[in-house]
């Protein structure tokens, strides 16, 4: 099979899967829907693997154009794909983890009446996500960008009878659209200033910073804050947990939310040349990492903890991008995809075992009942906490080291966020799996380990979370940092421009040691609090300290947005409708027409005043005139 055809098929297969399942879903037995869904994504994975190996063996990036999509005046955009190391890596993550989560969903969703619909949406998502990373121009990326937003909306509101879930879905879509507006204007400005929207045309033209470039990069980044749930547009992600858990794992942890990271990394040269935008990325990343981590400390819903953790970890990736460590950001994105997908799927397995219980206060002691879930979850926790040699250790350590080189305050904040992460993840682990079981007798009786279609993806992801870090072992630990070398062509231009910091090996060892020690301290603290003393979070309605209450209520940000944006806009709309529209403009017009009617009433004595009659005469007159002129 030719490369061109293979590249074409990678996104097309999941799309065909969607079309097939969606059109015949009523007559399709579940097994077949699952087969189509999993099979299409798996085939795409194999093709992605082939491309990856070709690139690994030194092939040039593939740039394939299929057809001209939109062309008007001097603007043109084509349907064309770019497969370079960056997109190739993304392809592997999307199709690989996508496939595992498809398998998982067979078991998780089997009894749901919307099984086929679920698989169709999931396939559609994979299609758009692939388009996002494969597009060789900004507009095609935007297609994927909006498309994944749609799938996210459809899947958050999957159980559409529940209006709370629909609210969450709407919120996700609309908040994303705020970012999307900024993104598309950024793209248009790129077109205006560089005359094209193809990466290959734009990047060589960007050679120096300018005010416009700063505006562009900031606009693109605002887009990223929407999709990747950063301050100020992050509040949709925790609510997005309304969707089925496989969705949370695939879309709201491993792939879609990393789109912003991908986008900034793709545009690295633009950012490298705009120091202001870089600082903004760094500051937002740091703020989000820390802020979200504190919220995660006090949440009691197993998925909410993981959601805030995702927000926080994404913040860490932006920290990496903000200090110019693009490869480190992508590296952490990859390892995070492994362990966060694992954690979400593990949480799903817990929820499945407990018949839709998500409150950790009603769990406890589960390691005895569901050992596979427990062990794999444990691996995930160790990986995210950065315990060597699990995946998270290497990627997180690299970001922290790069942050230290850049600015020590940034390093400190990132370290605090990381340590908080350790604490809340162990809190989650201990409360869920250790201690006494706090479920009802009835539930305990029914607790069971999940079926193989759920546990096998867990085990595969656990292996990846344990060993995934080895793709980026730093030189001081005897590794070759493979991923950085693999991605280096993508970031080559930025590296030419950037001043390279060098750090002595001693400093690097010391930093690493300090962090590991503090991590262990955090684990000990969590152990004492939640295992030795067996503390359980306070039940609903009990008195909380002021600080605890603020964190528990997520700093009241939702309420804040509600009162400064949502409500005022609603009132303005009402004002427009009632005051300006009905009593203003329309009154005026009616007044005029009434006075006209008045006049016409006065003339009634002379004429019959029936407008319709005149028109009727007019029609006949016109027809006669036309007929006459042609007969003449």
């Amino acid at each position: 099979m030719s490369i061109k055809a293979m590249i074409f098929l990678i996104p097309l297969l999941p799309l065909l899967g969607f079309v097939l399942i969606a059109t015949i879903r009523k007559r399709l037995v579940r097994g077949f829907a699952a087969l189509i869904g999993c099979g299409s994504v798996f085939t795409s994975f194999i093709f992605s693997l082939v491309l990856f190996i070709k690139l690994l063996n030194g092939a040039e990036p593939f740039n394939v154009t299929y057809f001209s999509w939109i062309a008007a005046g001097n603007f043109s955009a084509s349907f064309s794909y770019l497969i370079d190391p960056l997109s190739s890596l993304m392809l592997l993550i999307i199709t690989g983890i996508g496939f595992l989560i498809h398998i998982y969903s067979i078991g998780y969703m089997w009894k749901d009446e919307g099984f086929n619909r679920f698989f169709s949406y999931l396939n559609l998502f994979v299609f758009f996500m692939l388009l996002l990373v494969m597009g060789s121009n900004y507009l095609l990326m935007y297609v994927g960008w909006e498309g994944v937003g749609l799938c996210s909306y459809l899947l958050i509101g999957f159980w559409s009878k529940n209006q709370d879930y629909n609210d969450a879905a709407n919120k996700a879509f609309i908040m994303n659209r705020i970012g999307d507006l900024s993104l598309i204007i950024g793209v248009i400005l790129i077109f205006i200033n560089y005359g094209s929207i193809n990466y290959a045309d734009v990047f060589p033209k960007v050679t120096e910073g300018s005010f416009v470039l700063t505006v562009i990069t900031v606009l693109l980044f605002i887009g990223a804050t929407g999709k990747s749930a950063q301050i100020p547009l992050y509040t949709w992600l925790p609510d997005a947990m309304a969707g089925p858990t496989p969705v949370s794992a695939l879309i709201h942890a491993a792939t879609m939310v990393t789109a912003g990271v991908y986008m900034v990394a793709r545009n690295n040269i633009l950012y490298t040349l705009s120091p202001v935008a870089m600082e903004l990325v760094l500051v937002i990343g740091l703020a989000t990492a820390l802020f979200a981590a504190t919220i995660a400390l006090a949440q009691n819903d197993i998925k909410k903890v993981l959601a805030y953790s995702t927000v926080s970890q994404l913040g860490l990736m932006f920290v990496a991008l903000g200090v110019g460590a693009y490869a480190s950001g992508i590296f952490h994105m990859a390892t995070h995809a492994f362990f966060k997908a694992l954690l979400f799927l593990g949480a799903g397995s817990v929820i499945h075992a407990l018949h839709h219980e998500q409150d950790i206060r009603n769990m406890g002691g589960l390691r005895k009942y569901i050992p596979i879930t427990f062990f794999t979850f444990l691996v995930g926790v160790l990986a995210i906490s950065g315990i060597p040699p699990f995946a998270g250790f290497f990627s997180k350590d690299e970001i922290l080291a790069k942050a230290f080189e850049h600015n020590q305050l940034a390093w400190l904040i990132a370290v605090i966020a990381s340590l908080l992460t350790v604490f809340y993840m162990l809190r989650l682990l201990f409360i869920t799996f250790y201690g006494k079981n706090r479920s009802s007798e009835e539930t305990i009786h029914h607790i069971h380990e999940s079926p193989a279609s759920i546990t096998i993806p867990l085990i595969v992801l656990a292996v990846l979370s344990a060993a995934g870090g080895f793709m980026g072992v730093p030189e001081i630990l005897g590794g070759s940092n493979w991923i950085e070398h693999f991605l280096s062509p993508v970031f080559a231009k930025s590296h030419e421009v950037m001043t390279e910091y060098t750090m002595s090996h001693t400093t690097e060892y010391v930093l690493m040691g300090v962090i590991v020690v503090f991590t262990l301290v955090m684990i000990a603290l969590a152990y004492v609090r939640y295992v030795s003393r067996a503390r359980v979070p306070a039940s609903e309605g009990s008195e909380l300290s002021v600080a605890h209450r603020i964190i528990y209520h997520k700093y009241y940000i939702d309420e804040f947005y509600e009162s400064i944006v949502v409500k005022p806009f609603y009132w303005i709309s009402k004002l427009f409708d009632i005051v300006i529209e009905k009593s203003g403009i329309d009154r005026l017009v009616n007044l005029i027409s009434e006075s006209l009617q008045d006049w016409s009433n006065r003339f009634r004595k002379l004429q019959n005043g029936y407008v319709g009659f005149y028109i009727f005469i007019m029609v006949i007159g016109v027809i006669l005139v036309i007929a006459y002129s042609f007969l003449k």
């Binding site: 008007a72 005046g73 009878k161 879509f173 609309i174 507006l181 409708d577 529209e581």
Partner: protein
Amino acid sequence: MLTIALIFVPLIAAVIVLGLPQLLARFFAFFAALVELLISLVVIFHFNKLQGVQFVFDTPWIQSMGINFSVGMDGISLLLVLLTTVLTPGILVTALRDSTKPSSYFSLILLMQSAMIGVFVAQDGFLFYLFWEIALIPIYFICLMWGGENRGRITLKFFIYTLTGSLLMLVAIVYLYYHTPAPHSFALQSLYEAGRSLSLPQQTMVFVGMFLAFAIKMPVFPVHTWQPDTYTTAPLQGTMLLSAIMLKMGIYGVIRWLIPMVPLAVKEWGMTAIIFSVIGIIYASAIALVQKDFKRLIAYSSIAHVGLISAGTLTLTSVGVQGAMIQMISHGVIVFGLFYIVEIISERTKTRELPKLGGIRNVAPLMASCFLVIMLGSVALPLTSGFVGEFLLINSLVQYKLWIGATAGLTIILGAVYMFKTFQKSMSGETNSTTAQVTDLSYHERLVLFPVVFLIVLIGIYPKPLLDISATAVNDLLSVFSHVSASAN
């Protein structure tokens, strides 16, 4: 001759339909509309997209006044003719099983089609005005005789509004006519030349008169208040004719009769008009958000969308005008689908009040899926037809002035807010006593909605053939314009 056929086939059919018994009449009308569609496809087949006006038919008509029966089509005309010929059979199908509508109803729809095509192909100022006025007559009767509550008062308002506009336009055309070299002529090219030779203050007068006429037709804020009432009260087919096709007469007027005729004034006052259009986007979107009546909500959303088209057109860039062209097609198809969905729902539940609806997707999943796709087109999701136009229009506005483009771009957010809310209120949630008995789409309804859904996706993925049709005409139009303003400077 093809152009003549396009005008007269529906006209003749309209007369025949009047004399037929009810059942036969509606099928004959539908058949005539299909023939018309076929003719337009033949036209497309023979159309040379590198040339300007084609299929010309030009014969002296009222020689003493310099009026010719001159018609022809360039790409801009052709696209709108195509929109008309594609949607009219659809509009007729929606009424096919409605036994309350007599033969005359179908006759009026065909008459309307004939007149609107006349507007799009006229190459003579008088002819253009004539068709413009004739188009008003059938829609007036359709709304007056088959409309809903308060139809008398509302239709009168609509009539006065548009008649005011028409009169201003007539004055402007006659004014230009007297500036053509003697013996005066209404020919399009003569009027162009007459208009361009005017001084800026004179051009401004013409601009104001004509733009008001076109703005009322679209309608643009603040001369839009006839629209929500009329759209809401009119019977389904009337609403479709008005929103899917007739409002394009206004935008077409701007493109064909305003921009090339008074370029100096357009350049001078374009920004003012753009600002009003953009205010309209925000204003109408905000009002749409608080509407409880489903149909009225769609009416306001149409004002918002048309505001964007109008603003983009007035940037006088080929990106903007091409965006307007494709968006006119897309808006026609989408709004046709949306109003049909509203009708289907209100027919089954006997209400259009959104708060009373809910959970329809549980009982009518196919309807919900169709609505979803049409809605995505309306909010301009990429790979739907709505995106192509909206992107090009916003693109042109950002090029014009960044802040205007960014403000107009708010439609990306606001459109999603009111449409997704509407979807949630009507389709999602638990079914209630009003919606529990809703049945899914009948075969008859699928026949209408499936092509709509198909077109929305098809145009979204591959808009090139449509963009190609109007590309040459748009370039010609703007090159003439830039030449004129350059020499004037």
